[in-house]
Symmetry: C2
Subunit: 198 residues, 2 copies
């Protein structure tokens, strides 16, 4: 290129992308036991945000464990690296201007705190989907608890591996048998409004 080329003359910023999208970016970090309802609530929220012209995206087991993190196992080290990579990808999505949701058990407090540090606490919203183990086990949508109890799955959160509930989550959704997903979504939408995110 010619000598007088100005390198990176017009850097497009995260703010520019937010302005283009007409909303702010954030990471909604869902945490809770398997079967607590993380993915269900995230999917309904995604739809409601889409109706409001908010560009949202869900990172979950379907698109992460089968792709980026296919090389990782469910050992403590594997889970730790799983959450680290998800945190880094979520950070990129926030930088790109989206409302990104992560729907993973993410059982360790330390890993979630690191996610907050990586993404930036001003953009990080910890959403605790609080459902009792017996409720989750009764639902067992994927039949995983049954397999874990039968010893067919090792290191299963709540059965053979720990879950450390958040100490001070930004949002807590108590999700028992009488809860309604729409109500939870309203709670989150209210929070996003209050924070002037979307």
């Amino acid at each position: 290129m010619s000598e007088n080329t100005v390198w990176h003359p017009n850097k497009v910023t995260a703010k520019n992308r937010e302005d283009l999208l007409l909303h702010r970016s954030a990471c909604l970090w869902f945490t809770g036991l398997s079967g607590s309802g993380k993915s269900t609530i995230a999917a309904e929220l995604e739809y409601r945000l889409y109706q409001r012209n908010v560009l949202a995206y869900i990172l979950d087991g379907d698109n992460i464990r089968q792709g980026l993190n296919r090389d990782l196992d469910f050992s403590p080290e594997g889970r730790r690296e799983n959450i680290r990579r998800i945190s880094e990808v979520a950070k990129l999505f926030v930088d790109a201007g989206l409302v990104v949701m992560t729907a993973f058990i993410s059982p360790y407090r330390e890993d979630r705190d690191r996610a907050r540090a990586i993404i930036g606490s001003d953009r990080f919203v910890e959403v605790f989907v609080d459902a009792d183990l017996d409720v989750c086990e009764r639902r067992d949508p994927k039949g995983l608890y049954k397999k874990a109890r039968a010893g067919e799955i090792g290191d299963f959160t709540g059965v053979s591996a720990p879950y450390e509930p958040p100490v001070s989550p930004d949002i807590t959704l108590v999700n028992d048998d009488r809860s309604d997903v729409g109500t939870h979504v309203e709670t989150i939408i209210g929070y996003l409004n209050d924070r002037a995110i979307a």
Copy 2:
């Protein structure tokens, strides 16, 4: 949640997100020697797309090597895993509706072919930034060639590690001393128009 909850009732699709953004998604995969001009062209293209209300995002050494891939080295295995993870992240961005650009040397043909397979060939645009080694070495914007020649950096593409040029790239930009970044950007914009992407 109550028994009559419909799970994932309204799945938001990649097509929905494209419709919201009013453009299609794609991955522009830049490949070329260090100093060939990948990042410069990508940054200028990003700005031009932003002016056209296209949501674009660049994955490059700054946001990937310092974050997601901070655990990887520059050995053949490290480079291979680097490109694999970038491919998986680019796939997520394409699914999210963006025009994502990747600006990495990506020296191995096999790795780029795998990127195409992961992302999907209908969404993958290989952009070969073709600059001669001596031109790149003369530019040496980061002083890396000098360090590589001095033996301070090992496995340096073009010096002590191979670069395998694309066999049939979707776009080739010959980027010598008389080239203009604006002309290259026009070429890519023309391609995106022809493909009805943006």
